[in-house]
Symmetry: none
Subunit: 207 residues, 4 copies
C-alpha cells in the first residue's frame, strides 16, 4: 500500500495541502515566517536568502523575524527541529514484513522513508548539512535509521543467514545511499533512479 503523505515522490504543493490544509499565507506570524524560510532556503540556499526576503514573503515586518528568531541561523535550526522528524521506531514494520519478500520490504522502506518532512525540507537537509551542525546531525540520524531499517528488512526477508554479514551491511548502506541521494541527483543531473529496481537488484544479490 502506498501512503502519499510521506512518499518522497509527492510534490511540494501536495505536501503543503495535506499537512496544513490551508492557503500558503495562513497561520500565525511565526508559522508564516517558517513557511517562507522553508521555501526560500530550499530554493536559493540559506546563505543566499536575506532575512528581509523571508519577512517579505511571509508578509510580516522585518523586525518580527528577529522577534521570534534572534539570529538568522535560528530560523534554520527551528525549521530542522520542527519540520523534520526522523521516525526512529515503528512497531508495524515487523508486522508488515513478509519473510522471503526482501524486495517488498525494501520497496516499502523506499516509499515510506522514516522521515516526516516536506520535499523542501529534504532539500534543505541535504544542502545545508555540511555547513550547519544541527542540520548535519539530523541527516546523520536519518542515514543511520535508514540503514538500520534496510538491514532489518533484509535480515527478516532472507532468513537462514545466507550471505555473510559484511555483504548484508554493504547492501543496507548502498540502499540507504541510493534512497537519500536519489532526490538530489535527480534534481541536479536529471537522472532518475527507480528505488524499486534497486531494491530488486539488492535482494537478488543476497538471493
Amino acid at each position: 500500500m502506498v501512503r502519499s503523505v510521506d512518499s518522497p515522490l509527492q510534490t511540494a504543493k501536495a505536501w503543503s495541502r495535506s499537512r496544513r490544509g490551508k492557503q500558503p499565507s495562513d497561520g500565525d506570524a511565526r508559522t508564516r515566517i517558517l513557511d517562507a524560510a522553508e521555501e526560500l532556503f530550499a530554493g536559493g540556499g540559506y546563505e543566499a536568502t536575506p532575512t528581509a526576503r523571508i519577512a517579505e514573503l511571509a508578509g510580516v515586518p522585518k523586525g518580527l523575524v528577529f522577534h521570534y528568531f534572534p539570529r538568522k541561523i535560528d530560523v534554520l535550526i527551528s525549521l530542522v527541529d520542527e519540520r523534520t522528524v526522523v521516525v526512529e521506531e515503528e512497531v508495524e514494520e515487523e508486522a508488515e514484513a513478509v519473510p522471503g519478500d526482501a524486495v517488498g520490504a525494501l520497496s516499502r522502506l523506499a516509499r515510506r522513508l522514516p522521515l516526516r518532512a516536506s520535499p523542501a525540507m529534504r532539500r534543505i537537509l541535504f544542502r545545508e548539512a555540511d555547513t550547519h551542525l544541527s542540520v548535519r546531525e539530523r541527516l546523520s540520524r536519518l542515514n543511520a535509521e535508514i540503514i538500520r531499517r534496510a538491514r532489518f528488512a533484509l535480515e527478516l526477508a532472507l532468513p537462514g543467514g545466507r550471505g555473510d554479514a559484511a555483504r548484508l551491511e554493504a547492501a543496507a548502506a548502498t540502499f540507504a545511499a541510493v534512497l537519500l541521494y536519489q532526490e538530489s541527483i535527480c534534481l541536479l543531473t536529471g537522472h532518475h533512479i527507480d528505488p524499486d529496481a534497486v531494491a530488486e537488484l539488492i535482494a537478488h544479490a543476497l538471493h
Copy 2:
C-alpha cells in the same frame, strides 16, 4: 594497476603535492588565488567566502582578485573549468577489461573515477551544484560518464546478455550513486561505504 592521483581515497595534501610538487603558496598570483578559493569554497561554501579572505589566504592584494576574475562567480567558474576534468574517453579501459571479472572492472572504476579533481574540488562540485549552472553541468556530465562506464564494465564483464537491460541500468546507476556520494555521506554522517563491497554486491546481483 592503481594510480593514486585520482583515487578518491587520497588525501587533500597528497593531491596537492602530487599535482603541483610545490609549496602551497607557490605559483603565480592567479594560481594562488585559485588555490585559496578552492580551499575556502570547499571549507565554508561559495556564498560564505568573501573575496577578501581569498586574497588574504592567497597572499595577494584584494584588487588583484578582480583583476583576474572580474566577478566573484568567475573564480568559481574558473575553478570548475580548470580543475575538474571529466575524462570522457579513455581507450585503455577496454584493454584492461577482463571478461567475466565484473568485480574487478567496477573496483577499477571506483579507484579511477573519470574525474581529475582534488578532494576539495569534489566537495565544491557537489555543494555548489544546485546554485550554479556551470557547476551543475559539470556534475551532470560526471554522473553520466560514471554510469556509462559502469554499464560498459558490466556489459563487458557479463557477456551473454544475462540479466535484462533494466536491471543492468539500475546496477550502473546504483554504483554511480554510491561512488559519487560516498565522500559526501562519509563527511556528513561519518558512515563509510566500501566501494569494493558494493562492486561485489552488484556483480553478484547480475551473476
Copy 3:
C-alpha cells in the same frame, strides 16, 4: 555622631538592605523596574542599557516598563527625582558645629554628604550628567550645597575672619571637588583619597 546610611563609604549592598529591608526583587512592579534600571544604568550607562534588559532584570513584561514610564528617559528622570535627594537645609548642622574644630566639621560633612542616594545613584549622577539636563541640575545643586556647607563649617570653625574670603572660597570648592569625585576617581583609577586627610589639610591651610 556618624550615621552610616548616607556615608559614602557604605557598600551598595548595605544601602539596599538599610533602605528597603527587603529582597532585591521585592516591591511592586514600578519599584522593581527602578531597582533594575538603577543597577543597569550604574553598570553600563543609560545609553547602553536597553529597556528590555531592565524589564528582564525587574522580572516584569517589557510593556509594563512603558506603562509606568512612557519614554525611556523617564526612567532616568524618575530615578534622579526619587532616588537622589540633595538635603539643602539641616538645622542640626549648626548645633553640631564646634567653634574651632574645622577638621571635625569638614570630616562630618564628608561622612554625611547632603545627598541621600545609593552608591549606584551617585555613579549615575556623574556619568549621565553631561548628557541629560535633569541629571545635571541635580548634580549642580549638590555641588552648590556641599560648597555652601563647607564654607559654613569653615567660617564657623574659624571665627575672627582670619584668612581672606577668596581663600575660604577656594578651600570650600576644593573640598567639594575632592568629595564629589573621590568615588569616581577611585573607581576609575584605583587611587583612593582620604577625605579626613584633606579636611585636616584644608583646616591647616586656614589655620
Copy 4:
C-alpha cells in the same frame, strides 16, 4: 614661561588651529574621520554617536569608516591612543623649580598638565572612562603622573621635611583631583575653580 598650547583654558578651536594649522576638513580621510569622531564623541558621547554621523561630518562614505576602523570602538581606541599623550618624563621640571616657591611650582603644573590633548579629547577621556578599558587606563596614568609631579613639586619647594609624608600625599592627591575635574565640574555645574588659588591654599597648608 610656556603658555597656550597645552593650557587647559584654551578653546577647542584654538587647539585645532595651533596643532594642525589647517581647515577642519583638511587632511586624509582617516584623519578627517578621527577629527569628526573627536568632535562628536566629545559633544554627545560615544554611545549616542552613530558611525554614519561621523562619516557625514568627515565627508567620507560610511563604508570608509569601517575600512580604517573595523569596529566602532576602534575609532575611540585610536583616538585615545593617538591623541592623548601622557607626558611621563620632563627634565625641565627640576630646572624650573625654585626651592621655596611651592605655589609657583603647582601653578606651573596646572598650566602645563602632563597631557597633550585637545579639550575635546579631555572630555572624551573623562566621559568614556568608566565604560571603556583603554580610556580608563589612559586616565589612570594621567592621574598618577599628576600626583607624582605635584608631590615632586611640593617636596622640592618645601625642603626640610616640614609636614609629614601623609599630609604631603593628601596635598598632591587633592591638587590632582582639582586639576583633573575642574573642567568637568565647570562644564557640569558652572562652578569655576581657580587652580592658582588652590595651589596657594595647599602651599600654605604645608608652609
